[in-house]
């Protein structure tokens, strides 16, 4: 196993763990964190691919695209956090209204 495969597999595991977190935990901040970290997993996979190309230097195009992706992820996270704050202001709850019985303790 090369280091490229190791990094890519780690990124995939991060993505899978985040899918579990996103589905299982109803707290909004946990969901936002799950999506944010999932993005980091995808960046890790993509960046590891930039080392797969033949030649001495890594491919600069994935690097540039991941930089762009980070900024878009920051924007989405900032907006999601603001929305979560707004939900809390309006409903006094950190859970979506569809969650009939939010767990008392953070699970």
């Amino acid at each position: 196993m090369t280091s490229v495969t190791l990094y890519a597999l780690s990124g995939m595991v991060v993505v899978a763990v985040c899918v579990y977190g996103l589905v299982s935990y109803p707290h909004l901040i946990r969901k936002i964190l799950a999506i944010n970290v999932m993005g980091s997993g995808i960046f890790l996979v993509f960046l590891s691919f930039s080392r797969r190309v033949p030649g001495e230097n890594p491919d600069p195009v994935p690097h540039a695209m991941v930089l762009t992706g980070i900024v878009v992820a920051v924007c989405a996270t900032a907006f999601a956090l603001a929305l979560a704050r707004r939900v809390h202001e309006v409903t006094r709850s950190s859970y979506l209204p569809e969650e009939q019985d939010p767990p008392e303790e953070a699970g």
Partner: protein
């Protein structure tokens, strides 16, 4: 309200399928990584061949600002869009009262850190032409300075010179668009720069972007400077 047993059952009913889903996703994605075709083809050769036309020495900066300038341009747009969306939620500004927020250590630390951060910002911006760095890294450092100033109560979320701040927020996007479209008049494509001016232009655009990105990232943190309109309940 459901009884505690019922809640626990529901939680198990959600989490077990979720764990199975995540595990199968991990296996599927892992399999796709292991079975990638060899040897990989990349764009390194293409980028290296065009480097002399880009005006900068660092391949990532060349891709960001020149070859794929469109991505960077739209990403600044996304940043601005996120700010408009956050402002429209009318969240109360995250203001701090200097009297209570500033312990002697915090006040002194912020006073000492902010000038240093500004120097780092300029360095990161300039470094982007030849090594890792560039407008977004510099903008992030600038935003960190803004957030420190807010947390220590030196600045407030509702700015007095709001018009000036708005120019700083939208300036990067505006200058990028104006230059990109301006060179169309000279017969280039959108966001295509003449190679002889590329270095100066990229540095100029990156400088404007740094200010805009720094202000926008900090403003995302600050909350909305707008007064919520009166709505009928």
């Amino acid at each position: 309200m459901a009884s505690p047993t019922n809640t626990r059952l529901r939680r198990v009913l959600i989490r077990v399928p979720a764990a199975l889903l995540a595990a199968s996703l991990a296996l599927l994605l892992g399999w796709s990584v292991v079975t990638l075709p060899e040897p990989a083809t990349g764009l390194t050769g293409l980028v290296d061949a065009e480097m002399e036309n880009s005006g900068v020495d660092h391949p990532v900066t060349a891709v960001l600002l020149n070859f794929r300038g469109y991505d960077t341009f739209l990403e600044v747009g996304v940043l601005l869009l996120a700010l408009v969306a956050v402002w429209s939620l009318y969240l109360a500004p995250a203001d701090r009262d200097p009297e209570t927020a500033q312990t002697p250590v915090l006040g002194l630390l912020v006073r000492m850190l902010v000038p240093g951060i500004l120097v780092v910002t300029v360095y990161l911006l300039w470094a982007g032409t030849s090594r890792s760095g560039g407008a977004f890294q510099a903008g992030a450092a600038l935003a960190a300075a803004g957030e420190l100033l807010l947390l220590a109560g030196f600045v407030r979320g509702r700015f007095r010179r709001e018009r000036l701040v708005r120019f700083a927020l939208a300036g990067g996007f505006g200058i990028f668009l104006a230059l990109g479209a301006g060179f169309m008049l000279l017969g280039n494509d959108l966001l295509e720069y003449p190679p002889e001016f590329a270095y100066g232009l990229i540095l100029f655009i990156e400088g404007a972007l740094t200010v805009s990105i720094g202000f926008t990232l900090a403003a995302l943190f600050f909350g909305s400077p707008l007064e919520a309109p009166e709505v009928e309940k």
